[in-house]
């Protein structure tokens, strides 16, 4: 068996073992299982957030974009920076609301704030569907990593099944708290390998990162200016994509992570400190540019793993093994987060709140676990048999997930925002996102997800003003 494959396997097993060892026994309380008992301090929350938010996209997708695209590939850096500013404004009030009303999930916010369990259940189903699509992206990312580590088509599919099965059992056992501990290893390993590879690659071939950038600029002088206003990836695309990604950065799983904080102050401090981890994206750019100089001409998915191919051909195999190992964790930890987010919403907002299954904590925790197995199985089956025909739906993933944010922000800051206006806005946003994904329109270079988001917001605002004021269900104070 190739060395990198052994390293991936050993790392995944060691991470799971470490987390299971580190996690305190927490019984069968759903609050413990889903939001860690709202007890996380700054460091553990920071580690968990970094663990969830930096995925195979950071490791492969951005490098592939640097390899094959122009200046617009700087959008992730801009978007992540802005995402934290947006988060600084709305996550602390969201945490406060969640604590006051004992919320467990994203859909709980919609059910409680807008006073409709049915709306909560609809949001839960929609969100669970979107989270499952996210799983398919990670499964494919995991397979790319395992193939680069040296497995063939069949071997890598089998390895994906085994790894995904293990991580499912892991989150089944250890819940959110276990994920946070597993993220400790993932974050350190990912940071270390990105830094090593991002510096070593340009130094080995060109002497220093600066000398490498000299060559990259000489070779592709036009790839450092963003294209014209309405070009396919021009100025309008850049601004709208940055806004879209910033608004949609904290999705259902990251909302659950926010609830896990011990205090509002910890949420604030955490959001302020997160940009520091994002600086680790910079070496990924170095790796991408180096690969484009050393090994030009690759296309499609091959471009994403261009620097891994360079590593395989010119460096000790152990280095490729380390990158693949952190790549595997970068797919598996976020998968666990999405599994838990989907399962907890199906349990809390559909089974318990809507169908009245059980009021008992232990039953609810076990129900969440059953949903974890269910969602994981469905995602695996879809991935195995329908991968090719799901490409369109995968594009829908992000554009669909972002549509929840307006309802949260309006709910927190605008007393008048009501069930009717927000739910119709959400419905229009989701329909627009889906139809623009299936039938792409030119849109003068605007990002389709942004157009859907704008329709969502506009509908909610107009309807809120147009509809008669309805008294809030129970929000304290006079309304």
């Amino acid at each position: 068996m190739p060395l990198p494959v052994v390293m991936v396997g050993a790392t995944v097993l060691a991470t799971i073992a470490f987390a299971l060892f580190a996690v305190r026994r927490f019984g069968n309380d759903p609050t413990q299982f889903i939001v860690g008992g709202r007890s996380f301090g700054t460091l553990l929350l920071w580690v968990l957030m970094c663990g969830e938010l930096f995925t195979t996209f950071s490791l492969l997708g951005i490098a592939g974009g640097v390899y094959s695209r122009g200046a617009e590939i700087y959008y992730p850096i801009a978007a992540v920076g802005i995402a934290y500013i947006v988060a600084y404004l709305y996550l602390p009030p969201l945490w406060r609301y969640a604590k006051e009303h004992n919320l467990l999930t994203l859909a709980d916010f919609f059910a409680t704030r807008y006073g409709s369990k049915r709306f909560g259940a609809v949001v839960a189903l929609l969100s669970a569907f979107i989270e499952s699509l996210g799983l398919l992206v990670y499964l494919t990312g995991l397979q790319i990593v395992l193939r680069m580590a040296g497995l063939g088509a069949l071997g890598s599919t089998q390895a994906v099944l085994i790894a995904f099965g293990l991580i499912t059992l892991f989150v089944f056992t250890a819940g959110l708290r276990g994920m946070a501990w597993a993220s400790v290893i993932k974050d350190v390993l990912m940071f270390g390998t990105i830094l090593t590879v991002g510096l070593w690659l340009p130094i080995a071939f060109f002497g220093s990162p600066a000398a490498m950038l000299d060559r990259a600029i000489a070779a592709r002088p036009h790839d450092f200016t963003i294209a014209a206003w309405t070009a396919g990836n021009g100025k309008l695309w850049f601004v709208t994509t940055v806004i879209l990604n910033a608004v949609g950065f904290f999705q259902a799983s990251a909302v659950a992570a926010t609830y896990a904080a011990k205090s509002e102050r910890i949420v604030r401090r955490n959001v302020m400190l997160l940009p520091l981890y994002t600086l680790s994206l910079v070496p990924v750019y170095f790796a991408g540019y180096t690969a484009s100089l050393v090994l030009p001409g690759l296309r499609g998915p091959q471009a994403d793993s261009a620097y891994l191919i360079v590593l395989r051909e010119h460096f000790p195999l152990a280095l490729l093994g380390a990158v693949c190992a952190s790549g595997a964790l970068a797919a598996l930890i976020p998968s666990a987060a999405r599994l838990l987010a989907a399962a907890s919403q199906l349990m809390k907002n559909v089974a318990v709140d809507l169908l009245g299954v059980s009021r008992e904590g232990a039953v609810q925790t076990w129900l969440t676990r059953i949903f974890i197995m269910l969602v994981a199985s469905v995602a695996l089956l879809l991935w195995l048999f329908l991968k090719a025909s799901l490409v369109d739906l995968l594009l829908f993933l992000f554009n669909g997930a972002v549509q929840f944010t307006p309802g949260v922000v309006f709910g927190l800051f605008w007393k008048r925002a009501s069930l009717a206006s927000v739910s119709i806005g959400l419905a229009i946003g989701e329909c627009a996102a889906l139809s623009l994904t299936v039938h792409p329109l030119p849109l003068a270079g605007l990002s389709p997800g942004f157009v859907a988001l704008a329709l969502n917001v506009a509908t909610a605002v107009v309807l809120t003003f147009a509809l008669p004021k309805v008294p809030l269900v129970k929000s304290g104070g006079s309304s």
């Binding site: 850096i77 500013i85 963003i226 940009p275």
Partner: protein, 64 residues
């Protein structure tokens, strides 16, 4: 004095928003370079590093 602090807080929020969301589209070409990095790279990375600084300052002003 209070309103001044509030103004400063708003400015410290808007500044990185504009610097990261809008300014990059007006950056063109490959000079000036800092440590070999082209303008779009050093500008976005610089502001990503400055964002926590801005947010810390907002937090300080809020606590007073």
């Amino acid at each position: 004095m209070r309103s001044l602090a509030k103004l400063a807080r708003i400015a410290l929020i808007v500044l990185p928003l504009v610097a990261l969301g809008v300014v990059p589209i007006f950056i063109s070409g490959t000079s000036p370079r800092i440590f070999g990095a082209p303008p779009i790279m050093w500008w976005t990375v610089l502001w990503l590093a400055l964002t926590p600084v801005c947010l810390f300052s907002v937090e300080r002003l809020r606590e007073r």
